[in-house]
Symmetry: C2
Subunit: 200 residues, 2 copies
């Protein structure tokens, strides 16, 4: 890797961390330059504009999400175990991924009303994730782990809700039982998808 690429990677690492704390919009060239010990202009030379920097930060975070969540997930046995692995890694990503919490959650509520490349990139990432999740759940259905009438998209919607609630409870409310609550909600969700009628 050339010098330029390595510093750019370092910048994006720092930028992602910083953005998770102050938001993609709150991120400024000046503070980022100070954090990376570069001059403003020296840093800026790596990007065409601030907007481009924001988009690249999102892509950078997306690559990491693929590495630490998606790839290990699809390497586990298909069906329910894979669904569970995905959930586990997703929750862990939110807790320990970045200092300021999941950057996609932060950016989503910040840019959901601001048309442009940043929003587009967010939507793309989210659509991708939802698509993967739908397939993973669909497989759990076809494997017989989940009932035939389980709607993978509805499952994805509800799983997203659990993860968002976890993020909210943990980061804003600093609820120590956030993760335990998320697990309980997840178990209930999975339980309602099982083929056999529940104990009654």
């Amino acid at each position: 890797m050339s010098k330029g690429e390595s510093t750019k990677t370092a910048i994006l690492d720092e930028a992602t961390e910083l953005a998770s704390l102050v938001g993609l919009g709150g991120l400024t060239i000046g503070t980022l330059a100070a954090a990376t010990k570069l001059s403003k202009s020296g840093l800026y030379a790596h990007f065409a504009s601030k907007e481009s920097l924001q988009v690249q930060v999102l892509q950078h975070a997306r690559d990491r999400f693929t590495d630490v969540v998606m790839r290990p997930t699809v390497a586990t046995p298909r069906g329910e175990p894979r669904v569970r692995e995905f959930f586990d890694r997703w929750i862990t990503w939110q807790s320990t991924g970045y200092a300021g919490g999941c950057i996609f959650v932060d950016a989503a509520s910040e840019f959901d009303d601001q048309e442009g490349p940043v929003r587009d990139e967010l939507v793309r990432a989210e659509r991708d994730k939802l698509e993967s999740l739908t397939m993973i759940v669909g497989t759990a259905v076809s494997e017989g782990h989940f009932r035939d009438d389980v709607d993978p998209e509805q499952f994805g919607y509800e799983l997203e809700g659990i993860v968002l609630a976890h993020h909210h409870a943990r980061r804003l409310m600093r609820d120590g039982r956030a993760e335990e609550r998320a697990r309980r909600a997840f178990d209930r969700l999975v339980d309602d998808c099982r083929p056999v009628a529940r104990s009654a």
Copy 2:
């Protein structure tokens, strides 16, 4: 109401609307002054600082939430109907309350890592809402609508998840079926709380 109070109210109305679009942090005195047709200094005279403005915007939104969600909710019959009313009004609040979506959701992910009065106010509002919700659900239990072993706090957590997922799906993904999905999730949540064993 004196002139001063009425303009201040108008400022806060506009500020809340604007903040829902660009975030509490993205809100600036200049743009807000332009939107209210006031001079920067004329507007600023109503507040001690920008931080104070942000806090008062949150309090303003909170008052409105109390009016359009909480008050009608506690006026409906206790138990499950009241739980349902709360959910309905909460969802409606998010869809139609402000142009840029629920300002609390936006501000939560923006300020969850920034210590200070704004964060404190957010936590206070959230704790209040959660407390009310817990009582409403608790009543549904004591009325016999929900099972005895239903955990109201867990219920609140999961309901918050559904609402957050709805916000996410609707605002970022512009999913037209967001509300329908939220209702399905809610029905499942309530269904799992019912005393009688389900059809089996």
